[in-house]
């Protein structure tokens, strides 16, 4: 590990632990200010409804995305959130355009720049939206525009897939067929796509390893 990555790791850790405190301070501050500590049982019940799946997704996302995003990118992306819909695609697209590979220092730098830029832009768009919410809300939630935002993931992954699938179609075949068949057979899985990302990754890795050993790649 070179000096830059080492320092990035150190700064990243300082920022992320500070972020933990900042994030926890929000409910603490609200409870103290309004002297309104919630019923522990209610919080636990609410948490039981979401934690099993989201904690699992959290673990999976960290393991899957860390190698793709690099050290700085990972620390920043996990604080700012919205990984699948913004951070990961923008980092992948940026590395592709700059012709650098993840896992190299160049990849680390480009990925961090992409994630930082998209965090800043997202934050500013939300700030602008919050300021103009009364004027914007009816337009944004209009029936006419609803299909555009309902289909943001296919609109995003269609373009992204062309770049990666066309270049590595041999590796792509097995996980693609597996996932399409899986979702056709069990449509209700669409709600837990986050849990299926590592399944796709494992299928892709197994198929790639097999083809690599056979000398097909």
């Amino acid at each position: 590990m070179n000096d830059y990555i080492k320092k990035t790791d150190l700064y990243g850790k300082i920022w992320i632990w500070t972020a933990v405190v900042v994030v926890l301070m929000v409910p603490v501050a609200a409870c103290l200010y309004y002297d309104a500590w919630p019923d522990g049982a209610a919080v636990l019940k609410g948490l039981l409804g979401v934690a099993p799946i989201y904690w699992t997704v959290g673990v999976i996302e960290v393991i899957t995305y860390t190698p793709m995003l690099g050290t700085g990118g990972t620390y920043l992306a996990f604080v700012t959130g919205n990984l699948t819909s913004i951070k990961v695609p923008s980092a992948l697209n940026a590395m592709e355009n700059a012709q650098v590979k993840p896992g190299t220092e160049e990849g680390e730098v480009i990925s961090t720049i992409a994630i930082a830029t998209s965090s800043i832009v997202t934050t500013l768009v939300i700030v602008a939206g919050v300021i103009g919410l009364s004027a914007l809300a009816p337009i944004l939630s209009s029936e006419v525009l609803a299909p555009a935002f309902d289909n943001i993931l296919p609109a995003l992954f269609g373009g992204l897939a062309v770049v990666y699938v066309s270049r590595n179609w041999k590796i792509a075949i097995a996980p693609l067929i597996f996932m399409v068949v899986l979702f056709l057979c069990i449509p209700s899985l669409a709600g837990s796509v986050g849990v299926l990302v590592p399944v796709g990754v494992l299928v892709a890795l197994a198929a790639a390893r097999f083809m690599y050993k056979k000398g097909w790649l």
Partner: protein, 240 residues
């Protein structure tokens, strides 16, 4: 203190969190930019990365803003604003709020007036996403070390390993698009949108390679995404 889901105090909290996120992002941006120049990445490439990412981000960011709009109906603006700026995603925040509301047997059809319900929801939203923020610093060394070991052992396999990971992830989202086909033509809309996005990207690729329109690289992903979103707006009323 009288409770109000849109109180100045809650807005102040939101502003603090947003400033924290902005300062952290700017800190990492400046460091990476400087390092990029040191290791010989051209200013043009660095600039293009920033411009291209900024443009690409606008449309998904608006969809996140829509999440704030949805949640603000019962949680007010500050809490959804905070949650969507740090770690959050609408796919998580809405179920978290709904789950807590169910546990408390209340409806989320109107603005919350009881501060205890509000703080219960805030706690569930916060605690539910904790692993995403606590695990990276704990697991970073292990994961990065593992990747370096794979690469050192066999460089070619290391590259294939990384590509396979991307493709595995992309496959899961591509597969998801097929989930609703049994609901009739309506269920095919996401597939059409995906295909249009792929087609626009393909055309951009041809223009870039065959007609040397290198500048298009910066905008290709944004163009294909927004083009496909517009297509969704046009096709949905026709199919419904």
């Amino acid at each position: 203190m009288e409770f109000n889901i849109n109180s100045t105090f809650l807005y102040l909290l939101a502003v603090c969190v947003v400033l924290f996120v902005l300062v952290q992002s700017i800190f990492f941006l400046i460091r990476a930019y400087r390092r990029g120049k040191q290791i010989g990445i051209t200013t043009e490439t660095l600039r293009k990365t920033i411009v291209s990412t900024a443009i690409f981000t606008v449309a998904p960011a608006i969809s996140i803003l829509l999440g704030v709009v949805t949640l603000s109906k019962f949680l007010g603006i500050p809490l959804p604003w905070i949650r969507m700026s740090v770690i959050g995603a609408i796919t998580y925040e809405l179920p978290a709020a709904t789950s807590t509301a169910n546990a408390l047997s209340i409806s989320l059809s109107e603005a919350i007036t009881d501060p205890k319900i509000y703080t219960a929801i805030a706690w569930v939203m916060t605690l539910g996403i904790m692993p995403s923020i606590i695990l990276p610093p704990i697991l970073m060394k292990k994961i990065q070390g593992g990747m370096i070991r794979i690469k050192n052992k066999d460089t070619k396999w290391g590259d294939i390993f990384m590509t396979a990971m991307f493709l595995g992830m992309i496959s899961a989202f591509l597969g998801m698009v097929f989930a609703d086909v049994r609901s009739g033509m309506k269920g095919f809309i996401p597939i059409f949108v995906l295909l249009v996005s792929a087609a626009i990207m393909g055309i951009c690729g041809i223009l870039i390679k065959k007609f040397q329109m290198k500048w298009l690289e910066t905008y290709a992903l944004s163009i294909s995404m927004i083009g496909a979103m517009l297509f969704a707006v046009l096709i949905t009323p026709l199919i419904r």
